[in-house]
Subunit: 316 residues, 2 copies
């Protein structure tokens, strides 16, 4: 099949073509460039939602319930799970698995899990490519479910139009969220499992922490905090309402375009710098660095010289 | 003066030579490489301490008092202040200024402030170069005072042998510390201004947060928390004791060398990648990126193609 054929099948919502297209970008196949080029004119329709948070916060349950609600509104939903603790990718409990399978059976839903192994261009760029495939296949929403740990996972969540950070009421969770940089990327927060004790305190604590945020003059959006109990389907309507509010905010202020532009700028820079680094750090150069480090620590030569020598600019 | 002469004068602790040498590295002068090369054999003696934390935590007061204590032990101290709120670099109150001037008059102390303007190789690499100059000038301790905001400031603090994070008892300070990544880099914490209310609670809160830290099997060092009131010279002996404890720990476990090695590895990589980026992002390429972003957002072309075209690898 030519890439043009594959792209055509993707646009016709052929599930096997979608699977094959995502595998193509995921594996850095030689046809990746041609495929993305063929898909580009078909993209731009899907609204991208990032759902992230610490392990055990109930991200997949929330993803499932939100997907069901979107399906009830007749929206088609693609899910990209980059989360080693997600039932989509293997982890988790039986109840979660059943919930997932329920939605995965639906023709209007497509679920894809991606491994977190590193590669040229990074996981984050690949997840964006996969989202483009789903976008081209006409899905109305693409949900990235990623665990909120590690830079590339955060980069994926950040690449969404609306990023949701899911926490649980237990103390320490908000603390972890701040440590790991989740606070900065949240367009809104969900305190899930809020039938547990301490949910109201957790919401208050979060709001207090949010009041510490450095707010820019032009930044009018203050991240709201929503309580849910996803496993009992409580609060999901509120989540969807906040997504729509945030979407309206982005669209009415023109920030949706500027956000997508800066996402693409990052993607180009990420790809370029990954290529530069990949081309630069040949085994010979990496070995030279390690060998010379001993001499540097022994004060026999300088980092400055070594860097210039490696780049081929050593002036003597 | 030749760079060899300059290096010789630095090693003789000539203050004007030290000033000139630091300016040389700070301004990316053409002699930088030769100078660092001449200084390298003279370095390795100084123990490097990073003092960082949010604005207003009393970092400069602590730096001054610690310096006085080190002087009482007959140690020579170089200070590199990279902190826009520091009295060394211009900000702060009269009392602080007087305290600073007091120590700056001492022949056994050298104070240098560095601007936070960006440049090739980054502020962090330059601050490390300046520390090498002071090291070559025979200072026993080099203290980096940096405000704990922003990546390059954190990079400087991280480059020390022992990194101290200074906080105040007020609630929210620990929260900010976590948000900004200060938790990860602290070898120990100082709760300063602890004559204020809430100091004991702040210490307890910090210890609770520290208990959340992911501890690696091989990581035996648990960051202690020290209370001080630097403005009244209370607790400074405890700070010095913890520095010595941490130093002994690093030396006895061989981690001092591995830490310095990874600091130099980072420095080489930082310099190399800055040079690659600098060489790559010519005005023409940057302009091309911005122009083409509009087409990418309009789905007329792909980020993947643009990145490959920029790197000169476009296959059609």
């Amino acid at each position: 099949m030519t890439t043009a054929d594959l792209a055509a099948h993707v646009s016709e919502r052929d599930r096997r073509a979608i699977a094959r297209a995502i595998s193509t970008v995921e594996n850095d196949s030689p046809e990746t460039g041609a495929l993305l080029r063929a898909l580009a004119p078909l993209t731009g329709h899907a609204y991208r939602i990032g759902i992230t948070g610490p392990p055990g916060a109930g991200k997949s349950t929330l993803t499932s319930e939100l997907t069901k609600l979107l399906r009830a509104h007749d929206k088609r939903v693609g899910i990209i799970a980059v989360d080693p603790t997600s039932p989509f990718t293997g982890g988790a409990l039986l109840g979660d698995r059943i919930r997932m399978q329920e939605i995965a059976m639906d023709e209007g839903v497509y679920v894809r899990s991606m491994a977190t192994r590193g590669s040229l261009g990074g996981l984050s760029a690949k997840a964006k490519d996969a989202a483009d495939v789903l976008d081209a296949a006409g899905f109305d929403f693409v949900i990235f479910e990623t665990v909120g740990v590690g830079q590339s996972e955060l980069d994926i969540a950040k690449a969404a139009d609306t990023t949701i950070v899911v926490l649980v009421p237990e103390s320490g969770d908000a603390v972890q969220a701040m440590k790991s940089g989740l606070m900065e990327i949240a367009d809104f927060f969900v305190v899930n499992k809020s039938d547990r004790e301490g949910a109201d305190q957790a919401v208050r604590a979060l709001k207090t922490i949010l009041s510490f945020r450095v707010t820019h003059a032009e930044q009018e959006w203050i991240p709201p905090v929503v309580k849910t109990t996803a496993s009992k389907n409580i609060g999901i309507e509120d989540v969807l309402r906040e997504i729509e509010k945030h979407r309206n905010y982005l669209e009415s202020t023109g920030q949706l375009i500027s956000r997508r532009k800066s996402r693409e700028r990052e993607r180009v820079r990420e790809l370029v710098e990954a290529m530069l680094r990949f081309d630069f750090w040949t085994p010979a150069r990496a070995e030279m660095l390690e060998t010379e480090l001993d001499r540097i620590v022994a004060h026999e030569r300088t980092s400055f010289d070594l860097a210039h020598e490696l780049v081929g600019k050593l002036k003597t």
